[in-house]
């Protein structure tokens, strides 16, 4: 019955979309659909030395409608990354370009926040609300970002905003399975000093219906989630060419961990806490651009209330960037990180220092042709890490007032330092291997990018082909009577990524469209089990794609997105697989304004087709579900 309802709603949605004529009206700043900002790391755009690569800024309007969710969901909806989710709002790791969970570098304001113990980020612990800008950079970039940047990198940015006045807002979302999201923010600036405070809280019972057998359903058990966090930013402009920025972020999460389908009495719990602080000093004068960065990250994880995994790291970094002449610019920098652990399963405290030095050179040979050369060397206590260079180039094949066609190419050598668990684990059932070598990746890619910029219509499309080889791939295996990690495998990756983005300005609003497609081959080239050679790596879908359309008309906004993930083998002999799935989500909302007061109300429907799907084998995911959002902001009162 309600499937028909959904079908008609969809048709209605499309109808609405086609028939409403464009009538002249002004476009207001709204909360329901926000304006794209330039992606920068404090004055130096991410792209500056990333020649040959691409940086995809996630659509801010889409982020605004999804701001009560986490990066896990948004990456699945908007990026070519395959997100492997162990249940709804549960551990979610990334497979970028067919690589493993530890092969995506996640940087928050320039600091890699991947867990030092597990070597990955759980994207279900990264609320969209906590970042002002999110961008995704496919491809290897260890020379720029260090360890883990083999499959790609994700950049979370909080940016200073010195526009004068006071702004405050509250938000309340209510959704299926007892979901509540509450958030508030206060921002103040006098043009010189800015303070921004944000708080958020999310909880869900997560007791959605799970199919056990054709005749039996049950409620998902042991999957409730409670998260909260706060952020404080203080930015102070010392002079027009120098400022200080301090960002603090505390995130707390208490979750039951969803077990496999049909497991009714699981009771595992995970409590996690991360405190992250980064302070930057920026100076831009005749001598160049200077950046001093200090950071501190404290990660704490308590498993089943009795096993502690905690790490602290302090980071100090210096960066210097100089435009040498009209054609050449140079960046050099160094970063020092000190690590201390308190991990029950290590049976001792580990302290480690990682110092890296790096340099980048960008050469605009002719206006149409530029080359970037980057290199990084990291030194780790008692550990030999590889040298990571990269060379990228971009050639404009055609350019006129309205359009640009360019050719890109990039080659690099990359690395991943084995995690602390890999090296120092000494707990139940496993033993770390201090003799592990770092994983090394070789990567080459080439692509074509085309963009057209009209007055009303802008669009761009890009297609990339890449090849990579990762050697010394680390796997935990039963060795004798214990599990231990070994540098056993090599993986040959290749694939195609295509993306499309379009924005149409209309008299009464705008329309934004986007699509991504990825074809991914990740072939096991070396393993101690000959049966696996030539097989697709487990949990790498051959095909994945997503598309969205966002439309703002006067005060109304609506969005439809679809994401598709092909089947994934769940083991390396390529016999058993998890079914592919396609999810359709939609939202509709309206903004209101009265003097200094802004309101926004929206409703969101996830998994509109009520598809019974799994991201990870045997971990149930919810069917159709709803969320209602109310937002209020007061500005410059």
């Amino acid at each position: 019955m309600y499937k028909q309802f959904i079908r008609w709603s969809l048709i209605g949605w499309l109808f609405l979309f086609l028939v409403i004529p464009n009538v002249q009206a002004q476009q207001d700043t709204t909360i329901g659909g926000e304006v794209l900002k330039e992606v920068r790391i404090y004055g130096i755009p991410l792209e500056k030395y990333a020649t040959g690569s691409k940086v995809i800024a996630l659509d801010s309007a889409l982020l605004a409608t999804s701001n009560a969710t986490t990066l896990a969901r948004v990456l699945q909806q908007q990026s070519p990354i395959y997100i492997k989710a162990y249940g709804n709002e549960m551990l979610a790791t990334a497979s970028f370009r067919g690589t493993g969970a530890g092969h995506t570098a996640v940087l928050w304001n320039g600091l890699n926040i991947n867990s030092l113990t597990a070597g990955q980020t759980d994207f279900s612990l990264v609320p969209i609300f906590a970042a002002d800008q999110i961008s995704v950079q496919p491809g290897s970039a260890s020379a720029l970002y260090g360890s883990d940047a083999i499959g790609g990198s994700i950049h979370l940015q909080n940016t200073p905003d010195w526009s004068r006045g006071m702004r405050a807002g509250v938000q309340q979302n209510v959704g299926s399975f007892g979901q509540y999201f509450t958030a508030g923010n206060v921002q103040w600036s006098n043009g010189k000093l800015e303070s921004k405070t944000q708080v958020y809280r999310y909880s869900t019972n997560n007791d959605f219906t799970v199919r056990i057998s054709p005749t039996e359903n049950t409620e998902q058990q042991n999957a409730s989630v409670f998260n909260y966090g706060f952020q404080q930013a203080i930015n102070y402009k010392i002079a027009s060419n120098q400022y200080i920025s301090v960002q603090g972020w505390h995130h707390f999460s208490d979750k039951q961990t969803q077990s496999t389908r049909g497991d009714r009495f699981s009771n595992d719990l995970l409590r996690e806490r991360s405190t992250r602080v980064v302070a930057d000093y920026m100076l831009n004068n005749k001598l160049g651009f200077f950046n001093v960065k200090l950071g501190y990250i404290n990660d704490y994880l308590l498993y089943n209330l009795n096993s502690t995994t905690a790490t602290q790291r302090g980071i100090a970094a210096l960066k210097y960037d100089k435009q040498l002449n009209a054609k050449l610019s140079l960046q050099v920098g160094t970063q020092w990180m000190h690590i201390r652990t308190n991990v029950d399963a290590y049976n001792r405290e580990i302290t480690e220092d990682r110092t890296s030095i790096y340099g980048s050179l960008r050469w605009q040979i002719i206006p149409r042709w530029q080359v970037s050369l980057n290199a990084r060397q990291v030194f780790v206590t008692d550990f030999l890490a590889p040298f990571a260079p990269s060379l990228g180039t971009e050639l404009t094949l055609h350019q006129d007032k309205k359009q640009k066609l360019s050719l890109k190419a990039l080659a690099s050598k990359n690395y991943r330092i084995p995690t602390l668990n890999d090296r120092f684990w000494d707990g139940p059932g496993g033993i770390g291997n201090p003799d592990l070598r770092p994983e090394t990746g070789w990567s080459a890619e080439g692509g074509l990018a085309y963009e057209q910029n009209g007055e009303k219509l802008t669009w761009k499309t890009e297609a990339t082909y890449y090849q990579m080889k990762i050697t010394d791939w680390i796997l935990w295996k039963p060795i004798g009577n214990v599990w231990s990690p070994v540098n056993v495998a090599a993986v040959d990756g290749s694939g195609v990524e295509a993306s499309f983005q379009m924005k149409i300005k209309q008299a009464r609003g705008y329309l934004s469209l986007g699509a991504n497609y990825a074809y991914t081959l990740s072939t096991i080239a070396q393993d101690d089990n000959p049966d696996f050679i030539g097989k697709q790596l487990l949990y790498v879908p051959f095909h994945s794609s997503n598309a969205f359309v966002f439309w703002q008309l006067d005060q109304w906004f609506t969005q439809l997105d679809v994401n598709q993930t092909g089947f994934r083998y769940l083991e390396n002999s390529n016999v058993n697989f998890v079914q592919g799935f396609a999810l359709l989500n939609a939202s509709l909302g309206k903004n209101f304004r009265f003097k200094h007061h802004w309101w926004s109300i929206s409703v969101r429907v996830n998994n509109l087709l009520d598809h019974d799907y799994e991201s990870v084998n045997n971990r149930a995911m919810p069917g159709i579900n709803y969320q209602l959002s109310l937002r209020y902001q007061i500005r410059n009162f």
Binding site: T260, N306, G480, N481, S573, N618
Partner: protein, 350 residues
């Protein structure tokens, strides 16, 4: 929806056909009889345990038979599968379930799952009574306050009694109308009388008795995590022999007998960091441990011998990275053939 309904009708039709068969005088061989059942325990987190059926007559393997027959996953980790009085009983200790199915067609009869059934391991049956060893929850992997044997009414699919025990009850054996339980976390084997469910004797053996078996002479053997084999005379519950120097795994020690039960075959991992696994053969009259391995290979994880032809079945777990394999060897240790099974191939039922 329609597809599922159709499937239901087909299943219904099949089951009607089977019920009809039962009325005949000649009982035909069930779908999953006349072959070897292969247990694939599944990988730790995936709950993807499965049962495979290796048909000896066809020389073919059918994987995931429980899942196919019931459109439902058996779950994980499948610690043990036992056939008892035409019922197949599977014990899983991640989903923590006792799964009872019809042994001939693997149609589910009942699934026992309750909050206090935690870490069940192994099964033995006497009549309609099932005995399931259970470690119970632990916070420190040392103390197991809820260790017990759970008594199951197999027809009703309910737990009727709990016999509290100490220290990781692992292996369990029904023999001569007695239930023998190996307490792996201690040096004890307890004997339970199934008519009263009372513990009527406690046998002190070498430390860490893990799994149990009966030889040609009717003697009970226990393989112990302390590196010993112990031979027990069930007539007077005394230890007749202790053979030391056995290379062990330190938990869930796996062994079996040859066809005429005059030889013990047991599985030994080579010590870390070697990746080899070894199978040793030892006479039941031996006084010392064998020193040279009988069969050597990678990722051996389970062992069985066909009571029909003495063929040795070795479970290869493929280190849980891919599907496991059934490797078959002749009694002299030379390899016959192999079959691709499910994830984490671990055990055999003949």
């Amino acid at each position: 929806m329609k597809k599922q309904n159709l499937l239901l009708y087909v299943l219904l039709a099949i089951s009607v056909a089977f019920t009809a068969c039962k009325k005949d005088d000649v009982v035909p061989l069930g779908k999953y009889q006349g072959g070897v059942l292969v247990v694939n325990e599944g990988s730790f987190g995936d709950g993807d345990g499965s049962i495979s059926f290796l048909s000896i007559t066809d020389q073919t393997i059918t994987n995931a038979i429980f899942n196919a027959e019931n459109s439902q996953n058996i779950g994980g980790i499948v610690q043990n599968l036992k056939i008892h009085e035409n019922k197949a009983i599977a014990i899983t200790n991640k989903a923590d379930q006792i799964i009872i199915a019809n042994a001939t067609d693997f149609k589910k009869i009942s699934i026992i799952s309750q909050a206090d059934l935690v870490n069940p391991i192994n099964f033995a049956g006497v009549g309609n009574k099932g005995y399931v060893t259970q470690w119970g929850a632990t916070t420190d992997f040392v103390n197991y306050p809820d260790a017990a044997v759970r008594v199951v009414d197999l027809d009703a699919g309910t737990i009727t009694k709990t016999i509290a025990l100490d220290a990781q009850p692992q292996g369990i054996l029904a023999y001569n109308n007695k239930i023998y339980v190996a307490l792996q976390g201690s040096d004890k084997i307890v004997v339970i009388n199934p008519s009263t469910d009372a513990i009527e004797a406690t046998i002190t053996v070498a430390a860490g008795p893990s799994n149990l078996g009966v030889d040609a002479n009717g003697k009970i053997w226990a393989m112990c995590t302390s590196g010993n084999f112990v031979r027990i005379n069930p007539g007077d519950n005394t230890v007749e022999a202790t053979i030391s120097g056995i290379k062990v795994n330190f938990f869930n020690e796996k062994f079996t007998f040859n066809k005429d039960k005059t030889k013990i075959l047991y599985l030994s991992p080579a010590p870390f960091p070697s990746t080899d696994t070894e199978i040793f053969a030892m006479d039941i009259t031996a006084t010392a441990a064998p020193t040279t391995a009988f069969i050597t290979g990678n990722n051996f994880y389970g062992l069985g011998v066909s009571p029909d032809d003495d063929v040795i079945y070795v479970a290869n777990s493929a280190a849980f990275q891919g599907n496991g394999k059934v490797e078959r060897y002749k009694a002299d240790g030379s390899k016959l053939d192999e079959f691709s099974a499910g994830r984490g191939t671990s055990n055999f039922v003949f």
